[in-house]
């Protein structure tokens, strides 16, 4: 990015909206604004779509992460030949990732095939079959640019390496081997209670008092055993923090919210005929989602320019009003509104505070919650964590791996049938909320140590090791089959780690005062919160416009397309 190739000038030079960054929220806004007949210029300094929501080739991921891990490059000094009517405010990027740790145990194998990998920067991430992202895809017809497959199951893990399937439906409860009869009965009755409540049946209405009380208290009141409580809280309602320790819990779930989560999960199961689980994953990775919305925007006339950094913000010298941006190519482009990728920040001229008119007149949106960090890990293996099943989610509830674990850790295994890795390989995405990098590393390592064999000597004879491990696992399989046969997976050989990338991602950057800035990837499993925020931003900049009006439907018959191909 240091050598900016010569670009032909962009024509026209004035737009209704300029969007910088092609992350999912930016892409959705670009598509929504284009649909609302706004002229939109969508820029991205990167040569690919998706920004921090992208899926990258194996070799590109480390460099992308590190390019966003350091403080901004030396600021361009304001050019002297500025047009007189504008002030220039320099752009800089804020570091988003820290504590990046890449380990390669099989260099030859992976380097040759780097492009065969599509690794999600913001994983683990899935779409619930009935969540807002699916609704948005269907409503906008964007689903025609994508294909999905089902994530077939959810498991809860323990510190012994066992993976317990989550009885998340009537059929799954019936089939489950780990629950006792009484537990099955209690769980199903709870599900029925929730269903009855949601269906508005009078005799099973959950009281308002209960709805406002903590969900965990309600589960206790229903007499659910700890095991089931943990299934519901962390593997179905996807709570992040330990709900039973109010000292550390930052997201204490109310019964109302818990029930909404159950409703979402329940509506997701069986929504699409060939999706057996509650979740979908896009073929070629999550980055496809941003790209699909960009295509959607392009169809509506949005102009795309990749590999185009922006250097400065142009504001009116007198009024302080936003006017446009200066591109790395030197061209100035003007627009009424501006949307920025969250990593951009604007440096104010030295010694001056932002002119008051700026604060008052520019579109304004800010993210204030300090949510700490999220630790992410990407691991590549040659064997599945669980035989016979390749795409699944594993949840490690708080305290399930070690006593100080206060957040749940989620792991998503995606196989090569989703075109994210070499055939026969598996990508594991792991994430956990944390306060600092060390805590985050500890959480990710705890999962890796439980489930994976990490070769001691990286780089050198890793290839040989993985070969012997394969043979070893074959032998192990035979013996374990003949001997135990219990539900425990611990008897089997753990998959050997081939490659891993561990990093922490900031969940908040400093307050963005007067620029409309999109949210960064959050710590959730799906995109619901991000879509909500995106919707709010859109409303902020275009309060008079409808967010993808129904009449814009080009392709209303869509459920077939949205369902995964088999």
């Amino acid at each position: 990015m240091d050598d900016i190739p010569p670009y032909p000038p962009i024509d026209p030079t004035t737009f209704d909206l300029i969007v910088i960054g092609t992350g999912l929220p930016e892409s959705i806004i670009a598509a929504a604004a284009s649909t609302a007949s706004k002229s939109v210029l969508h820029l991205d300094p990167n040569p690919f779509y998706g920004s921090h929501f992208s899926s990258l080739p194996l070799a590109d991921l480390p460099s992308f992460l590190s390019s966003h891990s350091t403080s901004p490059s030396p600021p361009h000094s304001p050019s002297s030949d500025d047009p007189n009517e504008f002030s220039l405010l320099e752009f800089a990027t804020r570091p988003l990732y820290s504590s990046i740790d890449i380990s390669t145990f099989s260099p030859n194998l992976l380097d040759q095939h780097s492009r065969k990998f599509n690794l999600d920067v913001a994983g683990p991430r899935v779409l619930f079959c009935a969540d807002k992202s699916i609704e948005l895809l269907l409503r906008t017809g964007t689903n025609q640019y994508m294909e999905f497959k089902s994530v077939d199951a959810t498991f809860v893990g323990d510190n012994k390496g066992n993976l317990w399937s989550v009885p998340d439906s009537r059929a799954a409860i019936f089939k489950d081997k780990s629950l006792g009869l009484v537990e099955k009965n209690k769980l199903m009755r709870f599900f029925k209670l929730v269903q009855g409540h949601l269906a508005g049946e009078q005799d099973v209405k959950i009281s308002e008092e209960d709805l406002q009380s903590p969900f965990v208290d309600f589960l206790n009141k229903m007499g659910l055993p700890p095991k089931i409580k943990s299934f519901i809280l962390y593997a179905i309602a996807m709570a992040d923090y330990d709900q039973e320790d109010t000292g550390v819990c930052r997201d204490l779930l109310k019964t109302k919210d818990g029930i909404d989560q159950l409703a979402l999960y329940n509506a997701s199961i069986g929504r699409f005929q060939n999706a057996s689980g509650a979740f979908l994953y896009p073929i070629y990775g999550q980055g496809e989602l941003s790209q699909a919305f960009c295509r959607r925007a392009a169809v509506k006339g949005c102009l795309y320019v990749l590999r185009m950094p922006v250097t400065a913000l142009l504001v009116d010298k007198d009024t302080g009003c936003y006017k446009g941006v200066r591109l790395a190519s030197g061209q100035d482009i003007f627009s009424q509104k501006l949307i920025l990728d969250p990593t951009f920040k604007v440096t104010l001229p030295l010694g001056s505070s932002p002119p008051l008119p700026l604060k008052e007149k520019l579109p304004f949106f800010s993210l204030k919650d300090d949510k700490g960090k999220i630790a992410r890990g990407i691991c590549i293996t040659k064997t599945s964590l669980k035989p016979d099943i390749s795409n699944f989610l594993v949840v490690y509830p708080p305290r399930s791996l070690f006593p100080e674990q206060v957040t749940s850790i989620r792991l998503l295994q995606i196989a090569s049938n989703l075109a994210v890795c070499l055939p026969g390989m598996f990508v594991l995405y792991i994430s956990a909320l944390c306060n600092d990098d060390d805590q985050g590393k500890k959480l990710i390592h705890a999962v890796m140590n439980t489930l994976l064999t990490v070769p001691l000597d990286s780089e050198s004879n890793a290839a040989v090791q993985s070969e012997t491990a394969e043979i070893g696992s074959a032998v192990q399989d035979e013996t374990s089959e003949s001997s135990s046969g219990g539900p425990s997976d611990s008897g089997e050989e753990k998959p050997t780690l081939l490659w891993s990338a561990l990093y922490s991602q900031e969940l908040t950057l400093g307050q963005v005062d007067f620029i409309c800035s999109t949210p960064m990837p959050d710590g959730k499993l799906n995109y619901n919160d991000l879509i909500d925020t995106t919707f709010k931003i859109f409303q902020e900049i275009y309060p008079e416009e409808e967010f993808f009006p129904e009449t814009s439907l080009e392709n209303p018959e869509v459920d077939g397309d949205a369902s995964p191909e088999t």
Partner: protein
């Protein structure tokens, strides 16, 4: 498809449907022309296909196509290729029709018919079925057809079992899949395939499996149905068994000319007054059997030839199978002390209705003592004036308890050979009982209570002859009482079950039975020895039961109950005096079991509801032979056809004409007016007393 609310048709739908009807009518008219003129041209056959595609329910069209196929197959230039193409056409038509309505009986039947021709590949059928069964996994037509296909393909039961299991895992609310599982397992049990498919191995696993469904969703009925099948498989012994007999093994039968017998040396349970020169031998099996005759049952005694014995089934229907069989053994009128040996099933031939052979030969013997008649006219008249009034009963004395203990044990045949074989059954039932107690501690569930009651009852019944006590009867009675309150819709069913359990409890031990045994002692009577009357009055019984323990009863008081039916009472062949006073009998046909009681002399049916309803509903509920045989018998009997009064009361005629009553009380029934009484006197010329009035 299930669970889809019906919508009111919109005007445009109605228009469409009337247009369709018009089109259909036109097609049909044309079709009938072809059909009646036996025209089987290509055009005509295609027309029928069009008709069937719109309306797969048209049986005539299916039959026409069958005729057309036969017509083609008989053409002289017919070759294997053309046959195949004709039949493939048929399969295609059926498939299209099924797409229109895949619950069409005619279409499925036609497909079977085509396949039975043997020219079509059966392999395609499973693929087709998979498609249909995916669309509606509970469609019983598809499951039915699947069984046919699986059989034709010789697909193994294990493979089909796996398929049914997969369907159950997809959605366990699937009666058809559970039912298919039971069919397949039954077939495997019968084959005893591989030796490992024994009931004792499979059933516990099946219980385990169905628990998953029942506990997950106790409100879903399909699981309960399968459980009921499992329970039946557990409690029913394949081979029928002799449950009890009269006379009992080792008993002494005293036959006397009148109701006095010789002191306390003989138990009143086995002393018998006989004026017909014969006494009955009653065999009571644990399930209905057929094939009881003088070659399968041999009776060895000094005074009667086995071959002369005629075994008769006693059942409500006229079938040749029954739980109870009776034969009458003639005795000489002289003094006699003889031993009788009865051997049952030493030669094969007794077969249960399920097709299992009686395979546990058993033998019982008893002694017969005959005392010649000593007629005393005064005593006879007293004996014939029996009134079952409270003051005439006294608690059966303890002085003769010893003899009763012996005779009580003789009432039941102990089948020792069943004990070891049944251990797994006990274990299975005990486990189920524990399991459903747990379920009921979690949820209040009617079907759960009923199941627990059934389990406890089955457990008691299985352990009874050995444990000598029905340990759970109190709990079962409570469950049924509870159910009567919880589920008023099925009140009568629970009430009936409650009655039967109560009777089993009463008859389960000599102590409890003795509490209901009274000595009848008319103050006016000068008899030396008083008869024993079993009093089961005021128990609010709605049904009679426990007959296997009551074969000895000669006097029975069932007054002040709620009996609507006395089904099964025909087993009590020794009954000579019966009170059904103050019950809820609603019709004369309800008395039908009494026709088979040849010794019955005194009957009290006063204060019932006979004649309350002009329409006799029992006739539709019960499979009474009367409803079928009446017409022909009536015509044959000329004495009746000549009498208008009798024709108008033919029900009374057929019930009472076989009776040999001396004494009848019928007052307090709507039907019992003076006119009716005069008819009764005409039907029963031997009747001496009606409603307490001596007749001339």
């Amino acid at each position: 498809m299930h669970g889809r609310p019906r919508k009111a048709p919109k005007p445009e739908d109605e228009a469409a449907s009337s247009a369709k009807a018009q089109k259909l009518r036109a097609l049909q008219t044309q079709f009938f022309t072809f059909h009646h003129n036996k025209i089987y041209t290509k055009e005509a056959v295609e027309l029928s296909a069009k008709l069937l595609e719109i309306n797969p329910e048209s049986y005539t069209a299916w039959n026409y196509r069958k005729l057309a196929v036969e017509h083609y197959l008989n053409l002289p230039d017919c070759n294997p290729d053309s046959i195949k193409s004709v039949l493939d056409d048929e399969l295609r038509v059926v498939e299209n029709a099924l797409r229109q309505n895949f619950k069409s009986y005619g279409a499925w039947h036609h497909r079977k018919w085509v396949l039975s021709k043997g020219h079509s590949s059966i392999d395609n059928e499973l693929r087709l079925l998979d498609k249909f069964q995916k669309a509606d996994s509970r469609n019983f037509h598809a499951w039915n057809y699947r069984r046919y296909v699986a059989e034709s393909m010789k697909r193994s039961e294990q493979d089909e079992l796996k398929y049914a299991e997969d369907m159950i895992y997809t959605n366990f609310s699937n009666y058809s899949a559970w039912h298919n599982r039971s069919v397949l397992l039954s077939a495997l049990f019968e084959k005893k395939a591989g030796g490992f498919l024994l009931k004792e191995k499979v059933l516990p696993e099946e219980y385990e499996f169905i628990h998953q469904a029942i506990f997950t969703d106790p409100d879903d009925q399909s699981g309960w149905f399968y459980h009921l099948w499992l329970l039946d498989q557990t409690v029913t012994t394949d081979s029928p068994l002799l449950a009890s007999s009269w006379p009992g093994h080792g008993s002494d039968v005293l036959l006397v000319g009148d109701r006095c017998y010789n002191g306390s040396a003989f138990s009143p349970f086995s002393a018998l007054h006989s004026d017909s020169g014969s006494f009955p031998i009653v065999l009571y099996f644990n399930q209905p059997v057929g094939g009881v005759n003088s070659s399968t049952v041999t009776v060895e005694c000094g005074f009667n030839k086995n071959e002369d014995l005629f075994w008769k089934p006693l059942s409500a229907s006229n079938s040749q199978t029954a739980r109870v069989w009776v034969a009458h053994l003639k005795v000489p009128s002289s003094d006699l002390h003889s031993t009788v040996e009865v051997s049952v099933g030493h030669s094969k031939g007794i077969i249960s209705t399920r097709g299992f052979v009686y395979s546990h030969p058993s033998m019982f013997s008893f002694k017969v003592h005959v005392q010649p008649m000593e007629r005393d006219s005064s005593q006879v008249s007293v004996a014939e004036n029996i009134s079952l009034r409270e003051e005439n009963f006294k608690v059966y004395g303890t002085q003769s308890e010893e003899s009763i203990i012996d005779s009580f044990d003789q009432l039941i045949i102990k089948n020792g050979h069943e004990t070891t074989a049944s251990n797994w059954r006990f274990e299975a039932l005990a486990k189920e009982i524990e399991c459903f107690r747990e379920l009921l501690s979690l949820v209040d569930c009617k079907i759960g209570k009923l199941t627990l009651a059934r389990l406890l009852k089955a457990y008691d019944a299985m352990s009874y002859p050995f444990a000598n006590k029905l340990v759970h009867s109190e709990e079962v009675l409570e469950l049924y009482s509870d159910l009567m309150k919880l589920d008023p819709t099925h009140y009568q069913f629970y009430k009936d079950e409650h009655s039967i359990v109560l009777l089993q409890k009463v008859t389960s031990s000599k102590e409890s039975l003795l509490q209901h045994c009274f000595q009848y002692k008319d103050s006016a009577s000068s008899a030396i020895c008083d008869p024993i009357c079993l009093r089961l009055n005021n128990l609010s019984l709605s049904r009679m039961g426990a007959f296997e323990k009551l074969l000895w009863v000669q006097m029975l008081d069932l007054s002040h109950n709620e009996l609507q039916s006395i089904e099964g009472l025909e087993a009590m062949q020794l009954l000579s005096c019966l009170s059904l006073r103050n019950n809820k009998l609603r019709s004369l046909t309800a008395l039908e079991p009494l026709r088979k009681l040849k010794s019955l002399r005194i009957l009290d049916i006063s204060y019932n509801q006979i004649g309350d309803q002009s329409i006799d509903t029992t006739r539709y509920v019960c499979s009474s032979p009367l409803s079928h045989s009446v017409g022909s018998e009536l015509n044959r009997d000329e004495t009746v056809t000549s009498d208008v009064a009798l024709i108008n009361n033919w029900e009374a005629f057929f019930i009472f004409k076989d009776f040999n009553l001396n004494q009848l009380d019928i007052v307090g029934n709507t039907i019992a007016d003076e006119k009716f009484k005069s008819v009764l006197v005409k039907i029963m010329p031997k009747l001496k007393q009606l409603d307490g009035k001596l007749l001339d």
